[in-house]
């Protein structure tokens, strides 16, 4: 019976013409608990999945998707405002260059001795909607006894492209083991929480690029493995926003790239903690010292004078 109609709508076996390799999936589980709220359950997705390394993923408003028990991969993902993605002692790998515009919350939870981990298998940019006036864009949270890891499978870069002082917003303990470009974004560590940017080893290639708009509020500890303050003109970097505050914690500058030590307009506020300088640093006219300590290692110069030496 169909034969007589087929000529109207038939496309013979060349569907490949419009094939798309990165197919989208939306997470729709009703509940968060048990097997019902996990990524790995096929029926939790539209269409039925689960998505894999070739697929694009959306976690919509009101839904919490847990990457628990099993590691997962996706080409890219979006966590919408009101959506949550929880990495519970397991990893999520992003496999293609992608940009994430998000206002959702990414929870990194430690379970069974394993930390939640985001693995960047391609360059990844995280940004929020610049028109959004509410909470900070893209909250990455690893509070209490949890710790989050951001790592890379091949030397890729994580870029934070948020508004000034408006996120993406990392809150809690993190090991960011990738080259990090902060064109915005904020790290907040409470008492007892530790943020490590870049590997801490001598041969670590990871560099943290800090540009205007980046911010650190450290009540716990911040260790920056190697930091640079890039400018397009080759002149000293010029910031007009708060860079680093130590209300009670410690910021440790472990290494500063050669030629990048002259940092203008960068505000340092030491108000009760410690700024621990282990590499030559010169930031003219930008120090506000209220209380606490500035420790400068032997053989290292730290200048907060009007001009650099």
């Amino acid at each position: 019976m169909f034969d007589q109609y087929a000529r109207l709508v038939i496309v013979l076996v060349f569907g490949m013409a419009m094939s798309a390799k990165a197919t989208p999936f939306t997470f729709t589980a009703a509940a968060e608990g048990g097997s019902t709220g996990v990524w790995a359950t096929p029926g939790n997705w539209i269409p039925s999945g689960p998505p894999s390394s070739g697929d694009a993923v959306t976690i919509p408003d009101g839904k919490t998707c847990r990457v628990a028990n099993a590691n997962q991969s996706a080409t890219s993902f979006v966590v919408e405002d009101g959506g949550n993605l929880k990495l519970v002692g397991r990893s999520l790998t992003i496999t293609d260059d992608s940009r994430i515009d998000t206002y959702g919350i990414f929870f990194f939870e430690t379970s069974g001795g394993n930390d939640g981990e985001l693995i960047i298998g391609a360059d990844l940019t995280i940004s929020g909607d610049p028109n959004h006036s509410g909470d900070p864009a893209g909250v990455f949270e690893a509070h209490n006894s949890n710790k989050g890891i951001v790592s890379t499978s091949g030397g890729y870069t994580l870029t934070l492209d948020g508004l000034k002082n408006h996120g993406p917003y990392f809150r809690g303990s993190f090991d960011v083991q990738v080259s990090l470009v902060m064109n915005g974004g904020q790290f907040v560590a409470d008492i007892g929480e530790v943020v490590n940017l870049g590997h801490q080893g001598a041969n670590d290639p990871s560099i943290t690029y800090v540009s205007d708009g980046a911010q650190f509020d450290i009540y716990g500890e911040l260790h920056i493995g190697k930091v640079t303050f890039p400018t397009s003109t080759g002149e000293a970097a010029d910031f007009n926003t708060l860079f680093a505050g130590t209300p009670s914690g410690t910021i440790e500058i472990m290494d500063v790239c050669s030629g990048c030590a002259d940092i203008r307009g960068l505000f340092w506020v030491v108000s009760g903690g410690t700024l621990d300088v282990n590499a030559d640093l010169c930031t003219p006219d930008t120090l506000t010292f209220l209380n606490g300590n500035i420790d400068v290692a032997d053989g290292v110069s730290a200048s907060f004078a009007s001009t650099c030496p």
Partner: protein, 383 residues
């Protein structure tokens, strides 16, 4: 080679969705506050699905020839239903506070618990199969369980995550075995038949969502389209498609991601029964501005599917037009009249008309003399 590809693009882009003549689309649900999903359809045209009413817990609904019945009405979350030709339903229920599900069966008005697990399927023999999970990293293992003649058995448990069941009328089962410890995860289509499980060769990575019919024909979607398997041989049906569902004729309902519109759309593969399972025609069923996703089809090529964009979702049905041709042979003749006389129930709204629904010509849920008047007008004899 390049020119051939360009030609294909042009033709494919011109493909316009048409409801095939002889079929019509009805909206089983149409409520912006509800989320209805994962419909299954049997040969009686009954469609079962779950609906999250006003974002509340899921409830089970059954559509039968124009009547929509709510099967569950409680505070528990009821999800992932299936049904067989007898109208026996199975689904997963999540009792209050429970993190994992229970498989329940609803048969002849009686609800019974089969056992713990999720996502059951049932065949026309009443055999039920489902997965049962263990929250163990990193494998997230799930075993294959069956219920048959009152007995629950674990038929496959290898430490991997075995999910996405399909079962045919012989009790043969296919599913996907996920290795979640691999990064990225890998998967294999599995077949369980005559007390043995084998893995099915797949040309492409990440097979998902398998389906099997009584002829032992298996199909699944993967990263690059739809593959089929029968008798030890694998075939690539198309490199564009996902989540196939087979009927006994070897037809497939499946979905395709349309990059140009950013939507999933429903398609049919109609087998020409030439002996080669990949011989047939592709028909685009939908061309909407929203997602048309997971669906199911019966042996009459009636299709039920999930449509619209999250958080709204409704159930659509493409059903046979009631034209008096109850045996689908292209005419309205004495054979259909013979069926008519067997189907007459009088002017009483009747559940489970099943194949007699094709002679309920005025859609009032009975087969009576009002339908016969229409039948007389449609009668055209043996063509």
């Amino acid at each position: 080679m390049l020119s051939a590809v360009v030609l294909c693009v042009a033709v494919a882009n011109r493909a316009v969705a048409e409801v095939p003549p002889g079929f019509e689309i009805v909206h089983i649900t149409d409520n912006p506050n509800d989320y209805s999903r994962v419909p299954k359809i049997n040969n009686c045209g009954e469609v079962v699905f779950d609906t999250w009413i006003n974002s509340g817990p899921g409830e089970i609904f059954l559509y039968d020839n124009g009547r929509l019945a709510r099967i569950t009405n409680d505070s528990t979350h009821d999800a992932w239903p299936d049904l067989n030709a007898d109208g026996t339903l199975v689904w997963t229920t999540f009792p209050d506070g429970a993190e994992d599900g229970l498989i329940v069966k609803f048969e002849a008005g009686e609800l019974s618990v089969i056992g713990p697990g999720m996502s059951p399927v049932i065949n026309n023999e009443g055999q039920v199969s489902w997965s049962r999970f263990s929250p163990i990293p990193c494998a997230f293992p799930a075993s294959i369980n069956t219920f048959d003649a009152g007995s629950v058995d674990v038929v496959f448990d290898d430490g991997f995550s075995n999910q996405s069941m399909s079962i045919n009328g012989h009790g043969d089962m296919v599913w996907i075995r996920f290795d979640f410890c691999a990064v990225p995860w890998t998967s294999q289509a599995m077949l369980y038949s005559q007390d043995q499980a084998i893995s099915l060769f797949s040309e492409q990575d990440n097979p998902r969502g398998p389906t099997i019919n009584n002829a032992g024909l298996v199909a699944w979607g993967d990263n690059n389209g739809i593959e089929m398997w029968q008798g030890g041989e694998s075939f690539v049906l198309t490199d564009w498609g996902f989540n196939p569902k087979l009927n006994e004729a070897g037809d497939l309902h499946f979905i395709r991601w349309h990059e140009d519109t950013g939507t999933w759309q429903g398609w049919l593969f109609i087998s020409n029964n030439s002996g080669r399972v990949t011989d047939g025609e592709f028909v685009q069923l939908t061309s909407d501005s929203f997602w048309n996703t997971d669906g199911d089809l019966n042996d009459y090529r009636e299709v039920a599917w999930q449509a619209k964009d999250f958080p709204e979702s409704d159930i659509y049905l493409m059903r046979r037009v009631r034209n008096g041709d109850s045996d689908m042979d292209g005419d309205v003749d004495l054979d259909d009249f013979a069926k008519f006389t067997n189907c007459i129930v009088g002017p009483i709204s009747t559940d489970g008309l099943c194949e007699c629904r094709f002679l309920d010509l005025d859609h009032d849920r009975d087969v009576d003399w009002a339908d016969f008047r229409s039948f007389q007008l449609l009668y055209n004899g043996n063509q």
